[in-house]
């Protein structure tokens, strides 16, 4: 059971994640109006915001430690925030600045923070195999750390996911797969492209426990995650968890969602996991003043990070040539031709 202090922490993180997306949306649209040009403005390129996904990132990552690994998909910010990724460095990365997590090489779909073992990838389901690998390393080193792979419901038809379920299962690895079901794979509703309505059903075919949390409710998600992460930590193998979330914005900024019925978008906006938690906190005698304080603190951290990021320098163009290798090939001044090399004297 979560104590009320934990619930307040979760609330603060969820507000932070929501405010982060709303602020990034504002920043992203700067320079893109009136004509929307994806390459213009302070944040260029695609931007996939996760407003409406907060309960998933927070409900799961609340039970993780810094040494536990998380891999996230192309819609990663709420998960990164919940995992404790350095907010300022992450924001600077999204703005393409020199002090960003990757010095501006990655951008918002490719955030890497080794300090808290977080990474994400822009290719659907491709975070699953590396999470299995992190679980394999934990097993080989006999630690009790776990790995969590997040993916969208559109990714459950992808080979990388299905193969990972099998490998994690047959090797009994400490891995939790978390499907965030927001009902939409860009423009494709899941009933048109996927054979199951409940992604957790995929678990049965791979002989691992599968659970679906229908309510977009951080407490219910947290309870399910406690079980799955506990099983992994105790050496009892992988689990599959599907959680219902909602896409409050387009697939990417600039997606006019012409394919989406208004009623669906309205419903997604109404089912607000943050308000739901707020109701729960009030029922636990948390007063307006305390809630205001939590919200202000969360928003201030976000605003500070964005302000800081925007003041950071852009990378030098020449930095593009660095980091291809950890150990770059170097010129050998003593270089002589190798002839019939046998690796030493015969």
């Amino acid at each position: 059971m979560l104590g009320v202090t934990e619930l307040q922490d979760m609330y603060e993180t969820m507000v932070m994640a929501r405010h982060y997306e709303e602020r990034l949306q504002e920043e992203y649209l700067e320079g893109k109006q009136p004509a929307f040009d994806i390459s213009a403005g302070p944040i260029p390129g695609e931007l996939h915001l996760a407003a409406g996904h907060e309960a998933s990132g927070v409900g799961v990552c609340h039970h993780l430690r810094a040494e536990d690994t998380v891999t996230a998909p192309h819609r990663p910010h709420h998960i990164a925030i919940a995992k404790g990724v350095d907010l300022k460095a992450m924001t600077a990365e999204i703005f393409g600045r020199e002090t960003g997590l990757s010095g501006g090489k990655g951008g918002h779909m490719h955030l890497f923070d080794p300090d808290v073992n977080f990474a994400c990838s822009g290719i659907i389901a491709e975070g699953c195999p590396p999470a299995v690998g992190a679980g394999l390393a934990a097993k080989k080193r006999n630690t009790d750390s776990v790995a969590v792979a997040f993916l969208g419901e559109g990714a459950i038809d992808q080979g990388a996911f299905l193969e990972s379920l099998n490998l994690a299962s047959v090797q009994n690895l400490p891995v939790v797969f978390v499907i965030e079901d927001n009902d939409w794979a860009i423009s494709m509703p899941k009933e048109r492209v996927t054979d199951v309505t409940n992604g957790a059903q995929r678990a049965a075919g791979f002989d691992l426990p599968g659970t679906r949390v229908d309510a977009d409710d951080v407490i219910a998600i947290s309870d399910a995650a406690t079980d799955a992460i506990g099983r992994a930590r105790d050496g009892n193998g992988p689990s599959l968890l599907e959680v219902q979330v909602h896409r409050r914005m387009g697939h990417f900024m600039g997606d006019a969602e012409g394919y989406r019925p208004d009623a669906d978008r309205d419903a997604a906006t109404r089912r607000d996991s943050i308000e739901r938690l707020e109701t729960k906190l009030r029922a636990n005698d948390i007063d307006d003043e305390t809630l205001d304080e939590l919200r202000s603190r969360a928003r201030e951290r976000v605003d500070d990070a964005i302000e800081w990021a925007k003041e950071q320098p852009e990378p030098e163009p020449s930095a593009a040539y660095e980091d291809v290798f950890s150990s770059p090939p170097s010129e050998d001044p003593e270089r002589a031709p190798s002839v019939a090399d046998t690796g030493g004297e015969d």
């Binding site: 390459s39 390129g45 600045r97 038809d157 860009i186 494709m188 012409g258 990378p315």
Partner: protein, 344 residues
């Protein structure tokens, strides 16, 4: 062999995406074996407008949204093609090829050969390519050389609406697998503004452009620039700018990589003696080296100077200053042309 295309007189100009859609619609009306599969190709009309409006005319059975399962649906296109259908399968970004590559290069590309010619695979694999809008290393590549390197696929890269339509008609009617790579920046998408060049006059009727015929987009006597896709337009801008300095540059648009029209390039180099190859793909082991080697084999004595302009061998970085650094621009092309002319 090659010559400047006689663009049939037409008052109508189209964006590249509209020209492609017109070719697809025409072929689908003519032949019920043709159908289109891809992610977000139905209601959305293709993330890059490649199928916009087709769902209304042809319905979900022929404009098929598919699961995010590239191995399955590209492989299904191979299987259906071998059964006499003419599928078009769209890979949303060419960068996603890794997810379904076995079906592409070990099945689609090889089945005709391995079957001793008893099978044919009449399908088109379309994919969006290219950077210049800060989408970082997993969504900005062209990978032209990768597909052209592996035997068994014809590879097409249009740079204008006129070429896009004619080449797509040819691709759909071809009895072999064709990889049709369209540059996002050229499509004329509202949120990704195109340069001026790709929107051209396009005849309403169907027409084909034969594979293996490069198009001399600009005639010139002093230097030859060979390029493709977006960089045709950057090379033309460079040529226009250098014309003010009295340098007369010929710009050759390859249009197809397999088959490759080395003859048009050879003839041009025989005239100019100076060759610049411009590519938006990686520098090493790729298109620039291949073109230069082909010219060296055919016309070594005429070759006075050579330059290649391509992506350095690094993944494409996100931040604007670094992306601008690695993707060749008009100034990079101008500088290379000046270098091959430096002994004049």
């Amino acid at each position: 062999m090659a010559q400047q295309e006689e663009h049939r007189q037409t008052d109508r100009s189209l964006t590249m995406s509209r020209a492609m859609v017109e070719a697809i619609a025409h072929e689908m009306r003519e032949d019920d074996a043709v159908f289109y599969m891809g992610e977000d190709v139905a209601d959305y009309g293709g993330i890059f407008d490649s199928t916009e409006g087709l769902l209304d005319e042809f319905g979900r059975d022929r404009i098929m949204d598919v699961p995010i399962s590239e191995t399955a649906y590209i492989g299904a296109a191979v299987g259906a093609a071998q059964k006499g259908m003419r599928p078009i399968a769209e890979l949303m970004f060419v960068d996603f090829f890794g997810v379904g590559m076995d079906q592409i290069y070990n099945q689609m590309a090889k089945n005709t050969y391995m079957s001793g010619g008893t099978l044919s695979v009449p399908m088109v694999l379309t994919a969006a390519v290219g950077g210049t809008y800060n989408d970082a290393a997993q969504h900005s590549q062209t990978l032209y050389g990768t597909f052209a390197h592996l035997p068994g696929m014809k590879v097409v890269v249009p740079s204008t609406a006129y070429d896009a339509k004619g080449l797509l008609h040819t691709a759909i009617r071809d009895d072999d697998p064709v990889v049709y790579l369209f540059h996002k920046r050229l499509m004329g998408i509202g949120w990704l503004p195109a340069p001026d060049g790709p929107k051209t006059g396009v005849p309403e009727e169907a027409y084909t452009i034969p594979f293996g015929r490069a198009d001399i987009k600009r005639e010139g006597a002093d230097a030859t620039v060979v390029t493709l896709g977006l960089h045709v337009h950057r090379a033309l801008a460079a040529a226009d700018s250098l014309a003010d300095d009295g340098i007369d540059t010929e710009v050759i648009d390859l249009r197809t990589l397999v088959p490759l029209d080395i003859e048009t390039i050879r003839e041009s180099v025989a005239k100019t003696g100076r060759l610049v190859v411009v590519d938006e793909d990686y520098r090493s082991y790729g298109l620039t080296g291949e073109i230069i080697a082909g010219v060296a084999e055919a016309e070594l004595a005429a070759l006075d100077a050579v330059e290649r302009v391509a992506l350095p061998d690094v993944p494409i970085p996100y931040a604007r200053p670094m992306e601008d650094e690695v993707i060749p621009d008009t100034d990079d092309i101008k500088a290379a042309i000046r270098r091959v002319r430096s002994d004049e």
